[in-house]
């Protein structure tokens, strides 16, 4: 069995309650850190552990914390990004719903390390029922002296609140999230300045993903060496993978980074193989934004090495033959899948979710949806295929935030690996599936 850091107790009945969480050793990391470690020591543990941001970008967490401006004299904020909306990704909901105190414990540790006295968990508005679970857990934590004034008599005080969004994928981009938390439209800000210097209410702020934050208690309890001994290369620790699509056992799995993808797809411990014994056609390995890979390239790299679940292995070969680990949203497609139609749903998604600030994204996502619709419905021409590639190139790298790239990559990669299928749509003047 693989090492479990986040899902160790996930099946224990009543885990969402303070009593059960505490009984299982919960909040011992808060006790240890607040009583025996300085904030800088907590940051040091996280830095040395090699933990990378689990929202999708994979930026080293400790380094991000290290950027926080401590000289300004302004209040500092720690914000949890619970705007889980990347198609294929449903891992954070799993933690928030079943183990909210783990997230709260991580929030206390991060806030302590950063010197924050007020922190927020920003959760997508659709997940109001999870917000209520978290608010209940927060109230329990206050009641038991783990939030509020003078936590556990250590002199450290922290207020923690949960804030709902309003239905906007873009608010998962950290500066858009901060705008939204300030009661505005979720328009991403131009960086620099980065949130670590000018964040929430113009004050130094760190924004981290749910899974990232939920990992911190384990690192504090067990030490950075224990954490960094798990994994492979610069992909340390475990990762939650939310697997969906045409597999026998969709769900949220915790894997040790470095697990061969072939094992993940076919082993009964994980996805349990393709439904109905069908043939694997393609996988989008890290949420809808990352390049799609055909079966042969998801199982093995272009040089014939087994492809592993790690930041390095999944990106091996660049975008020519590789992809990204991203958020861990693992979407599996069998041989009955129309790649063009699947891509059309993604294109519609990005068009719907573009905030509209930057013309290449606002206009380009609309054009890509329109052209893909044309091809899928049998009205496309061969020129349309090149036009799609052309548009994607004009979006990529030309926008304030990465939503533009996220919209461009699926289109470019689907045509790169499945061009014949697009051409078939054009030749037949209909969808062949």
């Amino acid at each position: 069995m693989a090492k479990k850091i986040l899902l160790d107790n996930i099946d224990v009945p009543g885990l969402a309650s303070f009593e059960v969480y505490k009984q299982l050793g919960g909040y011992s990391a808060v006790e240890k850190a607040l009583k025996n470690l300085t904030p800088d020591q907590v940051t040091g543990e996280v830095t040395k552990s090699g933990l990378r941001g689990r929202g999708g970008a994979g930026f080293p967490t400790g380094m991000k914390w290290g950027f926080i401006d401590k000289k300004s004299g302004n209040p500092r904020y720690f914000v949890c990004n619970f705007d889980e909306s990347e198609p294929g990704t449903f891992k954070d909901r799993h933690i928030g719903q079943l183990n909210p105190h783990l997230l709260i414990e991580g929030m206390i540790l991060g806030s302590y390390a950063l010197g924050a006295r007020t922190s927020y968990i920003y959760i997508r508005g659709e997940l109001f029922y999870v917000l209520k679970i978290i608010e209940k857990a927060i109230a329990e934590a206050y009641k038991n002296g783990l939030l509020g004034n003078n936590i556990l008599g250590t002199g450290y005080s922290l207020d923690l609140y949960c804030q709902p969004g309003g239905g906007a994928y873009i608010c998962g981009e950290e500066t858009a999230l901060l705008e939204s938390l300030e009661g505005k439209r979720g328009n991403p800000r131009i960086k620099p300045p980065f949130p670590a210097v000018v964040g929430l209410y113009g004050c130094p702020t760190v924004v981290n993903n749910v899974e990232t934050i939920a990992t911190i208690p384990w690192i504090i309890n067990n030490g950075y060496e224990a954490y960094s001994s798990i994994g492979i290369g610069n992909s340390k620790g475990t990762k939650l993978i939310s697997a969906c699509g045409h597999i026998n056992k969709p769900g949220v799995y915790e894997i040790e980074l470095g697990l061969p993808i072939e094992e993940f797809i076919y082993s009964d411990e994980y996805c349990g193989g393709i439904r109905n014994g069908n043939k694997l056609k393609a996988v989008v390995a890290g949420g809808s934004s990352v390049p799609i890979l055909p079966a042969e390239l998801i199982l093995r790299t272009a040089t014939g090495e087994p492809r592993l679940m790690s930041y390095e292995s999944l990106s091996e070969g660049g975008f020519q033959s590789g992809s990204m680990l991203g958020s861990g949203g693992f979407i599996v497609m069998d041989h009955t899948t129309c790649i063009v139609k699947n891509l059309l749903t993604f294109a519609r998604f990005y068009h719907h979710e573009s905030c509209g600030q930057c013309s290449p994204c606002r206009e380009g996502t609309g054009w890509m949806e329109k052209i893909l619709h044309r091809i899928e419905s049998g009205n496309g021409s061969m020129k349309d295929i090149d036009l799609l590639v052309n548009i994607s190139k004009h979006i990529e790298g030309n926008t304030i935030c990465p939503l533009g790239d996220a919209a461009a990559w699926p289109v470019a990669s689907a045509i790169r690996h499945f061009r014949a299928e697009f051409e078939e749509h054009v030749k037949l003047q209909k969808c062949p599936f």
Binding site: E86, G88, T89, F90, F128, Y129, Q163, H246, F346
Partner: protein, 171 residues
């Protein structure tokens, strides 16, 4: 709606205390969710103006936010709003057939409301529950692994009980 109900006021007051002095505009999204629930599931100009006055901001600051986020309805809706996810993972698992079932059974297209005002059908983008696709949302409730049979059962139930999906999400 020009005033929060007595039931919601304590929640509104609690939310207003969650932000630093002078930053009460941060309460806008939470308050819009409650206001929408108390205004039959949509935000009228009158309702938004009330929120503006409560937060001491300009009405346009409320309008521009309400029109940005997909959860806020700026037109009247039916008593029960059914939101069907249509993004990739749900599509791979039959969301299109599910939407077709709702369309046929209710006799309306996505974005429309039945003549009796009971149901509104909406398509939405990824609800982040892809492992149990297809997924629909009604009010604050998620319904997962919804096949045609399950959809039929749910619709029968909602028909019978005159389901109202807009309730204060904090309660």
């Amino acid at each position: 709606m020009t005033k929060f109900s007595a039931e919601s006021l304590p929640i509104v007051n609690r939310i207003l205390k969650q932000y630093p002095e002078g930053k009460q505009k941060s309460a806008l999204l939470p308050l819009l969710h409650i206001a929408q629930a108390e205004n039959n599931g949509w935000l009228s100009a009158e309702t938004m103006d009330y929120i503006a006055s409560l937060l001491e901001i300009q009405p346009i600051e409320v309008y521009e936010v309400a029109s940005f986020y997909s959860m806020f309805n700026l037109q009247p809706v039916g008593n029960c709003v059914i939101e069907v996810c249509q993004t990739g993972p749900c599509w791979l698992n039959g969301a299109e057939e599910l939407l077709a079932y709702f369309t046929e059974r209710l006799g309306i297209k996505a974005g429309e409301t039945t003549a009796d005002g009971k149901f509104t059908l909406k398509t939405v983008e990824c609800l982040a529950a892809c492992g149990n696709a297809p997924v629909i949302q009604v009010g604050t409730d998620y319904f997962e692994n919804v096949n045609k049979q399950k959809a039929e059962e749910l619709l029968d139930k909602w028909q019978k009980e005159n389901k109202i999906s807009h309730t204060n999400p904090y309660l």
